[in-house]
């Protein structure tokens, strides 16, 4: 084998423990980057799917916390009596909830029974499920996330205690786990059932948190978004209409701003990796000052010394990066971990493009980490180095 390659290889394996720790110091941040970006892409996909659905989300103008009257639905439908452009309107009331004696929060919503199926076609309910939804007042559709987590399946009778009124356990019949729904966390039941329960306990009924308005085209969506708000302008319950992607984006940002926080986390870990790799390469150079000086005395140029340290840094970091990128790809593609579920994202999908980007970042870390010690090696004065004055 070429002596240069032999020398490079031996340098990499000269201090195996240090090399392995450096690989890990780069590999782990790269792994965090890959996973973080996969979550971010998952959220992006979720939002893209929301955009595809051509839905307007109508909320109370001042805050999503303030409800709208159910009666708004008829006024919205009246904006297109042909139902060719506004194909369906579904009122939804968020009530949250949890199982009895289980603090795990659930995202439970009551939806208009007659228009839910046509407004939310991406749930791809079977005909049996649709029939069950329409016939059974206590029907409930559990997202595949909580269904898997809580072990709920079709046919089960389940009990949920809402976070909002009526605040007491409500009984439901599971009619679907919506395995094809892009939003795998939400739970929907019929609004008429909620209204009855609210009436029983004397709570005000006939309110919704927001309306989903299904449009035929993007043009309709843009046009009716403004028309809806104009229709309620000046009323006691003015509205704010957004396309669903914008609404979801705002909602996510208000809740935890996951993409932004993950991007910051990734940036920090990459910075830490650079520091760790730079420290190792500096130690490697310090250990070899006499050796570098000898090479230079033999006639090797400063450029050779630079390339020797820089290549070592690149290889070390790339190796760590390769492991850090490949491990999550393999684990989340070929092992049972591929079923791992993240809120909003059905499953965590690690794409090879993300892995390639991560590898690019590892190469960048190697380049940056190696520059300073490589520069020192290049500029090192042979005589001073041999006298150990450096």
């Amino acid at each position: 084998m070429n002596l240069r390659l032999v020398y490079l290889h031996r340098n990499l394996t000269r201090n195996v423990r240090r090399s392995l720790l450096t690989c890990a110091a780069v590999g782990l941040p790269i792994m965090i980057y890959v996973l973080s970006m996969s979550v971010v892409h998952g959220v992006d996909k979720f939002l893209d799917n929301s955009a595809k659905q051509l839905r307007i989300v109508v909320t109370q103008k001042t805050s999503i916390v303030n409800p709208l009257p159910e009666g708004h639905r008829k006024k919205i439908e009246a904006l297109d009596e042909s139902k060719q452009r506004l194909t369906s309107v579904c009122g939804v009331q968020w009530i949250g909830g949890q199982r009895e004696n289980d603090p795990t929060p659930l995202s439970v919503m009551a939806a208009d029974a007659d228009s839910f199926v046509s407004t939310m076609p991406e749930y791809e309910l079977t005909q049996d499920e649709i029939d069950a939804w329409q016939k059974d007042r206590q029907a409930i559709i559990i997202g595949s996330g909580p269904a898997g987590q809580l072990g709920w399946k079709i046919g089960d009778r389940v009990s949920i205690v809402p976070t909002l009124p009526p605040y007491r356990a409500m009984e439901f019949h599971v009619i679907s786990t919506a395995p094809k729904a892009p939003d795998n966390q939400s739970i929907f039941f019929r609004k008429d059932y909620l209204n009855e329960e609210l009436k029983k306990d004397g709570f005000p009924e006939g309110q919704v948190s927001f309306f989903f308005v299904k449009c035929a085209t993007k043009k309709d969506l843009d046009e009716f978004r403004e028309k809806i708000d104009a229709a309620f302008a000046g009323s006691l319950d003015e509205t704010r209409s957004l396309d669903e992607k914008t609404f979801m984006n705002e909602f996510i940002a208000q809740q935890f701003d996951l993409p932004k926080n993950l991007a910051i986390l990734s940036g920090l870990t990459v910075f830490v990796a650079i520091m760790a790799a730079m420290n190792t390469m500096s130690m490697n150079f310090r250990d070899r000052i006499a050796e570098m000086a000898t090479l230079k005395s033999l006639g090797f140029s400063g450029g050779f010394a630079f390339s020797l340290i820089q290549t070592e840094s690149l290889l070390l970091c790339s190796l760590g990066g390769l492991v850090g990128a490949i491990v999550p790809f393999v684990v989340f593609t070929y092992t049972p971990a591929r079923d791992f579920q993240v809120p909003l994202i059905q499953t965590l999908v690690v794409e090879w493009v993300t892995c390639m980007k991560a590898l690019g970042i590892a190469v960048f870390i190697g380049l940056v980490a190696g520059v300073w010690p490589s520069w020192m090696a290049m500029r090192m004065h042979v005589v001073r180095a041999l006298r150990n004055l450096e």
Partner: protein, 238 residues
């Protein structure tokens, strides 16, 4: 086999430490003929190693001139000096300075990477150099598998493998016991007598200096005196 004479004129070297001027060589004049074996002696700080570094192009003079063969070192850039060094000078250090992760053969092969040469020719040269220093059977040993004397032999093989004009040795026996020192000095004599190499050796040891044909004594950066040895050539001694 190549060799070169060395001509040093009014050589000055001043170091600066914390803005303080430290003169090391103060207008030194010295001539060394091609094929000579010269020992450089003198007290610490007299400028022996500095002179060696200046002749080897590892450092640049403050004033004066160094000519090695046809090369005037003060006219060369750093890059030119680096390239010149690889072709004309072989260094031997007190602490050997072998690359610990490479075998004896690979250490000796290192300087040949700077030459356009077929791999087979490189291997042949390495084998010859290691055989000359008596380590033909230790080619695949790493430095930590060799004794101090053997390590220095590998360093000598590395110094001669490019067939340099001049060999510069900085206290080559300083870290060795008496018996091993004698072996290394005999090896240097061999290189000088059999292969005609010009050798300049810095030493504190009069016994080591006795192996040289000429001993140059330095004092405060100037030539104090030159002594010629009456030592018999190795061939005659045999």
């Amino acid at each position: 086999m190549s060799s070169a004479d060395i001509e040093i004129k009014k050589l000055k070297k001043v170091y600066y430490k914390d803005k303080m001027e430290i003169p090391v060589l103060a207008g030194l004049d010295l001539s060394i003929s091609a094929g000579e074996f010269v020992a450089l002696m003198g007290p610490s700080g007299s400028g022996k190693s500095t002179l060696l570094h200046l002749i080897g192009g590892l450092d640049t003079a403050t004033a004066g001139s160094v000519r090695v063969g046809e090369s005037l070192l003060e006219t060369m850039s750093e890059a030119q000096l680096t390239s010149w060094r690889s072709r004309h000078v072989g260094f031997i250090f007190q602490m050997y300075h072998l690359v610990p992760v490479l075998t004896a053969a690979q250490n000796v092969e290192l300087p040949l990477l700077l030459f356009k040469m077929k791999s087979s020719e490189r291997k042949e040269r390495v084998k010859t150099a290691l055989t000359i220093v008596g380590l033909g059977d230790r080619m695949d040993h790493r430095p930590n598998q060799l004794s101090g004397g053997q390590e220095q032999r590998v360093a000598i093989a590395r110094a001669i493998v490019t067939d340099p004009d001049v060999i510069l040795a900085d206290e080559p026996t300083g870290d060795l016991d008496a018996k091993t020192s004698e072996e290394i000095l005999n090896l240097l004599n061999l290189l000088n007598e059999e292969f005609g190499k010009t050798i300049l050796m810095v030493t504190h040891d009069p016994k080591a200096a006795a192996h040289a044909k000429k001993t140059v004594h330095l004092e405060k950066g100037q030539l104090e005196r030159e002594e010629f040895s009456n030592r018999q050539p190795m061939a005659a001694a045999r």
